[in-house]
């Protein structure tokens, strides 16, 4: 399935590792949360990046605990949208970004629809696996649907309320 990172169609450099398979010596690997917990000692000694799959019914706090509070030891967290209407991972994304300050990549997988990319991007998801013939076009169309936003989220867009206050302030200075 096509992978988009920040809107660009890229080859997936990550090796998604089933739990039974041995961990290769190098190259970025993506493991389950259970494996991350069980094999923490060996995984962290590798020099290559580690990513983890976070099921959408596992609290973010469990992942934070599993990495000893240092989420930035991870380079990728893969979120799950088992059905497009199951929106739990939006909250996980915002908790990872805003509450815990996670800086690495956040990838959406599962039932990802073009019309949801806007919401995902605003929640701090920067990568998606999407079944599409024109993934870059879909990303571009969706994330630019609305020119402004009402509420602060996990992106860097300035909410309309803040823009309004700034405009008032400018008027105040001019007056």
């Amino acid at each position: 399935m096509p992978l988009l990172e920040n809107g660009h169609h890229v080859a997936d450099r990550w090796t998604a590792l089933p739990d039974a398979e041995p961990v290769p010596d190098d190259g970025p690997v993506l493991v389950s949360l259970d494996r991350l917990k069980a094999e923490a000692d060996t995984l962290w000694t590798r020099s290559a990046p580690i990513g983890v799959r976070l099921p959408n019914d596992v609290p973010v706090s469990a992942l934070v605990a599993a990495v000893g509070g240092a989420l930035d030891r991870l380079s990728l967290i893969v979120l799950s949208f088992p059905a497009f209407k199951d929106g739990r991972a939006y909250t996980q994304a915002r908790q990872l970004r805003d509450t815990h300050g996670y800086q690495g990549s956040l990838r959406a997988t599962g039932d990802v629809l073009r019309d949801q990319l806007y919401f995902m991007a605003r929640c701090g998801i920067d990568a998606v696996e999407i079944d599409s013939t024109d993934p870059e076009g879909d990303w571009q169309a969706s994330v630019t649907t609305f020119g402004a936003v009402y509420q602060p989220a996990s992106d860097d867009r300035t909410p309309i309320s803040v823009q309004r206050l700034a405009a008032l302030g400018r008027k105040g200075v001019a007056a």
Binding site: K85, F146, G147, A148, Y150, Q151
Partner: protein, 551 residues
């Protein structure tokens, strides 16, 4: 009232473009029905029995005369010349074509309206007191917070795919005209000991399959924390609300399962990192929105509704209408005019395009261009000079809009029922019509006093039958339409759920039962005692005796 600025306008215009693209992708086959359904629902478009139904948002029930004229235009151009005002202060059109929906949204957007989030598993249109800003008993205009909530919840990236729909109601007055205790979140304004205004946050109320009265999560939330606290509630709900069973997916089920104390603990934990963040509302933000709800310039006048009713010079028919339909205004010399959409034999909440235009014209002439929609499915002209009442009344009367029954027995709340709705099990409208014929004597209706009958055509309870003084639920028993009656429900500050009396019966028997309950009440009430208070004082037993007598 609130007027869009360039930001608001751009968003609804962009929404129209987005939906136009989505509809064309659906018609071309690029989207399947399963993929399209949640997208159309987030624009208020349902597939009902005979056609698509479009639900247009009327945020907190406030609209201008211009907007009402657009609603009339849509009824005439795209529908069959009428619309249905709902218990969520919205309007629904029953005969819409999918192919027309983008054009309708464009016509709405041109007059600062939309159908955003009027359906789907997202935060729905925020409802409020229809007398907001003019009620004599109000602490502060609740529409200011309602508008702040509207903006916060619109296209909220985190909360657009919740376990289930989510309804918020807010009242600024001690008398609750917004039914806040039967919403997912209810907000009641209070003042603290220093006089600062804040909100009591009530959570987990709701009707439907599992009716529950909401519980107080926080007795007093300072204004500045409104959004951060609600975001924390939503976050707990989005994470833990059930998704395995749609009948158990509302927040009320989660609150019941966790218990209010554990739910509160989780919300507070989630709130801690949010409370002083970007969602904190500085006073300037409140001030900027408050300015957009600045009260109109009233004239210096005197007089009250009561003196007008008592004046022997007043036409008795006018006096009766004033007594039933005009409420005290906070400004002397003005009244709040309630327009009944419950004429004898009429379909509750329905208005023709011509009636909408008449109301718009009356608003321009007599109400500073402003109109409200109530959750009782009536309309309101909020700023009417008492001296204009006779002329207004005569004109409304010519349009069958002056039935003097607001809050009385024939002011029946009813959902569309099986005549239109694909979810319904039984019809609601014919029973409402028959009851309004039965109680068409307005002198008797006034003697009976305030009495709310609510008729829902299925367990989803769109007509709020659980909180009707007399509630009626339509059921389907082996192909037969039957009606289950409850007594003692109320949606105000003393909210309570009605109790079932007797077995479900066919419509004609339901009418006789209700008539019998009214006779019983008239026989046993204390002087001046309301129907609901008699039921509260004596329980349902004396009314059940009516049933035995009738059997």
């Amino acid at each position: 009232m609130y007027q869009y600025d360039a930001h608001d306008q751009a968003l609804v215009d962009q929404r129209v473009s987005e939906f136009r693209d989505q509809v064309s992708r659906r018609l071309s086959g690029a989207l399947t029905e399963d993929q399209f359904k949640p997208l159309r629902l987030m624009n208020g478009l349902y597939l009902q029995l005979h056609a698509y139904m479009l639900r247009v948002a009327i945020p907190y029930g406030t609209l201008s005369s211009h907007q009402m004229r657009v609603l009339a235009h849509i009824a005439r151009r795209y529908d069959r010349g009428y619309g249905h005002f709902t218990t969520r202060q919205n309007i629904q059109y029953n005969w819409i074509k999918l192919a027309d929906a983008p054009d309708i949204l464009a016509d709405l957007a041109a007059e600062q309206m939309h159908a955003i989030q009027t359906s789907g598993n997202c935060i729905r249109n925020v409802t409020s007191d229809p007398w907001a800003g003019v009620a004599a008993d109000e602490i502060e205009d609740p529409r200011i917070a309602a508008e702040i909530l509207r903006q916060w919840s619109t296209f909220h990236p985190e909360f657009s795919f919740l376990p289930r729909k989510f309804k918020i109601a807010i009242t600024g007055a001690p008398t609750d005209r917004a039914a806040v205790k039967v919403h997912d979140i209810g907000l009641r304004m209070h003042r603290d000991e220093r006089g600062a205004v804040g909100y009591e946050v009530i959570v987990g109320g709701g009707l439907g399959r599992t009716p529950i009265i909401g519980k107080t999560l926080r007795p007093f939330l300072p204004k500045e924390h409104l959004l951060s606290y609600l975001e924390a509630i939503m976050r707990v709900y989005n994470t833990h609300g059930r998704r395995d069973n749609m009948y158990k997916a509302r927040i009320k089920i989660l609150v019941e399962a966790l218990g209010i104390d554990e739910f509160r603990r989780q919300v507070e934990a989630e709130w801690e990192p949010l409370r002083d963040g970007a969602l904190r509302l500085p006073p300037e933000t409140y001030a900027a929105i408050t300015e957009r709800f600045a009260p109109p310039l009233y004239e210096q006048r005197t007089g009250s509704v009561a003196t007008l009713v008592r004046d022997p010079e007043t036409d008795p028919a006018l006096a009766r209408w004033v007594q039933a339909n005009v409420a005290p205004h906070k400004v002397p010399g003005y009244g709040i005019v309630n327009i009944s959409l419950k004429g004898t034999g009429q379909i509750p909440g329905d208005a023709t395009a011509s009636q909408m235009e008449l109301v718009a014209k009356m608003a321009d002439l007599y109400s500073l261009g402003e109109i409200r929609v109530t959750h009782e499915q009536n309309l309101v002209l909020p700023h009417v000079r008492l001296s204009d009442l006779p002329a207004l009344w005569r004109t409304l009367d010519a349009g069958d809009l002056a039935t003097p029954n607001v809050g009385l027995i024939s002011d029946i709340i009813a959902c569309p029922g099986l005549d239109y709705c694909s979810l319904a099990n039984a019809r609601s409208i014919p029973l409402a019509q028959a009851l309004s014929e039965r109680f068409s004597d307005m002198t008797r209706a006034q003697a009976i006093g305030p009495l709310h009958i609510n008729i829902s055509g299925c367990i989803n309870a769109c007509a709020h039958h659980h909180v009707g003084h007399i509630g009626v639920l339509g059921v389907d028993r082996k192909g037969e339409e039957l009606y289950q009656i409850t007594l003692g429900g109320r949606s105000d500050e003393a909210a309570a759920l009605g109790r079932i009396v007797g077995p479900a019966v066919p419509a004609h028997q339901a009418i006789e039962m209700i008539a019998g309950f009214v006779d019983t009440y008239l026989a046993i009430r204390h002087p001046g005692e309301l129907f609901i208070d008699t039921v509260e004082r004596l329980g349902t037993a004396p009314f059940k005796e009516t049933l035995h007598a009738a059997a």
